[in-house]
Symmetry: C2
Subunit: 390 residues, 2 copies
């Protein structure tokens, strides 16, 4: 195991009706003038926004609002949010929504106290300082509610990039599984896929002897395998929603990714797809992951055989471990299809003729030639992997 540090000082309030305590948590973590940042109309229509506002008012807190955060959140709205924070002397940013609203809120929080262009952080600058951020989560997926990361798409060139820093880790996050019951099966499945991707990205490691984190990742994958179909079959299943929601946080606060190299090639390859086609991140990942795994499998067959037997219930073929490894990838692909995820470029709305342009952005513009920590993937490899998705 590699040396590491781990710090996850987010306060989590989990369960029914917990959004009504948003105001008291903002106060506890030092806020007095709040920017409420949210996405589309569902937060308004469901009455959630009103409940959150009422809880702020109850604590005597002032607030301003900024809606409009969309999937694959854009830099334009971030600039608006930063301006609003400065003009209104906002001292706390409260995201109400999913990963997009939260990531956008984190970017605003960092940009509001930074002299330069916030996009610097998305070009590699570590975030040292930010307004405190809190979240009321409405979809189990991104894990942004417990992470120190944010992903934003710059409309100037449609570059989708990430930024990190302990300063943007939420001070508190409110997780009420009941709020996710109104999600469509498709949105729910996208969330499940994203959570599983966060787990696989950590699972694909070159660090040896990492039993404890391997087992924890497998535990969370097994949870998704069990609870995913339950919640797709019955969207109102609170218990299944609750298990998925806590797993989604644990999958990405890095407690199961510490001390080991990680991959993240699937996320990188997917970001090109959602930047270009504006598809749902989870849907893109569903198409990307089986292709990546098929391509890199031979780098460590036993690792893929391990997840195949421990998570996917495959019988180990001790004479031909590659058979088991492959069976695990196919079981994962079938699982994703069974919960309603797309399986190829056509179903995603992506086009083969765009591959060379995406590979160029991916390897030349966004990286130093290769992507991924498990197997460094160059332009040729990325091209081959995208072609597996056609």
């Amino acid at each position: 195991m590699n040396n590491f540090t781990f710090y996850s000082p987010t306060f989590f309030a989990f369960g029914k009706d917990t959004e009504n305590d948003a105001g008291s948590y903002v106060k506890r973590f030092g806020g007095s003038k709040v920017l409420i940042h949210y996405g589309g109309g569902s937060v308004v229509r469901s009455g959630l926004l009103d409940r959150v506002k009422a809880s702020l008012e109850k604590e005597g807190l002032e607030y301003v609002e900024l809606g409009g955060a969309q999937p694959n959140p854009r830099s334009g709205l971030v600039y608006q949010g930063i301006e609003l924070c400065r003009k209104e002397n906002v001292d706390f940013v409260l995201a109400v929504g999913g990963g997009s609203a939260i990531d956008s809120a984190k970017a605003i929080a960092a940009g509001a106290v930074y002299d330069g262009d916030f996009w610097d952080f998305y070009c590699g600058k570590w975030i040292e300082e930010a307004l405190p951020v809190g979240t009321v989560l409405t979809i189990a997926a991104a894990g942004s509610e417990g992470s120190c990361s944010s992903v934003i798409t710059n409309e100037d060139g449609m570059l989708k990039r990430g930024a990190d820093g302990d300063a943007i880790r939420p001070k508190f996050s409110i997780l009420n599984p009941a709020l996710t019951q109104t999600l469509s099966p498709y949105q729910t499945a996208c969330g499940i896929t994203d959570i599983m991707a966060h787990l696989y990205e950590r699972y694909l490691t070159n660090t040896k002897d990492v039993e404890v984190t391997d087992r924890m990742i497998e535990a969370l994958l097994l949870t998704m395998v069990h609870e995913g179909p339950r919640v797709i079959a019955d969207p109102n299943n609170y218990e299944a929603r609750a298990n998925i929601m806590w797993a989604g946080m644990m999958a990405h606060n890095d407690s199961c990714g510490v001390g080991r190299s990680q991959d993240w090639s699937s996320h990188r390859l997917e970001h090109e797809l959602s930047a270009v086609y504006d598809c749902a991140h989870g849907a893109g990942l569903a198409v990307v992951m089986p292709a990546v795994f098929t391509y890199v499998m031979n780098h460590d067959v036993m690792r893929f055989a391990q997840v195949a037997t421990r998570v996917w219930g495959c019988q180990m073929d001790f004479e031909h471990p590659e058979v088991t490894a492959k069976a695990g990838i196919e079981a994962f692909r079938s699982f994703l299809i069974s919960i309603g995820m797309p399986k190829n470029f056509a179903e995603l709305g992506a086009k083969e003729e765009d591959i060379s342009e995406m590979v160029k952005t991916l390897c030349d513009v966004n990286s130093n030639g290769t992507v991924g920590g498990f197997v460094p993937l160059d332009k040729e490899a990325c091209t081959a992997i995208y072609k597996l998705m056609v």
Copy 2:
């Protein structure tokens, strides 16, 4: 799943040589005058104490020392520590050692800023305020490095009791697995048993539909089943030590115990044994747990069958689940014996004739008649369970 809050704001530095950063972490978390609190001579003999002191000096920090924390730490030393903190204007307590030194340091930290007798906290008063605490951990066992709990034995009546409060959760904890390589196989096995007990205490729940935390607990148990024998066979196996050390923290920071009722009857029954016979807590637990599980098994046979199949590799007997449940308990018992733990009163140095007195202290003095959240155990039940250990 039940509603819950979860807050684990401890900074963890994990890996080789990390104790040399103790000074910088004390500084980061606001300390200037430190009480270094430790246990026996091994911390001195190994040179660890000198390295920690050097790291404090490097940061220009002042310190005073108090050694002598012993297994089942005593109230007498806590009073000494409190006096020393007040006299020397200590503003940070740094524990160097295992669960005993840490628990004793937590009691000192709480008592130093409290007007009354610190023992109040161990009679049920929540700890609201304390000096900040940091730890340099030398044994993977108690999980106190990431928990908000402390257990102290009052020499006046040999009452062993616990106290809790977010204020005593360590600000930072330094976990260097190499520091645990000098532990004897017996001490190591006691630690492994304690970690597994923290997991089983959470596993025995009456809350339904807790897949995510069930799976995480099983993951950590599987880690112990795999790494335990490796480290007993080769005490210098750094990798096995590392996996056990992180599992020990995760087992007790409650990330896998949230949203579910828990048991803790084994700990309560064991505390009487270690209070009276001063045996190692882990050794006591090894004798107590199989007896408790055998006694309560019929309360939820399927739960015991689940852990038997998922952790102990037992084949599920679908017609007679109680056969599988029992096989899992026996597999656990055999595992404990295989790593060198005692199996009964005689091997522990406990005496059948003391049972009635222990049960009296347990149920009359320490509790309101019963112990345990899974099955409330009254005097009769506790007596029967102790008799199973003879």
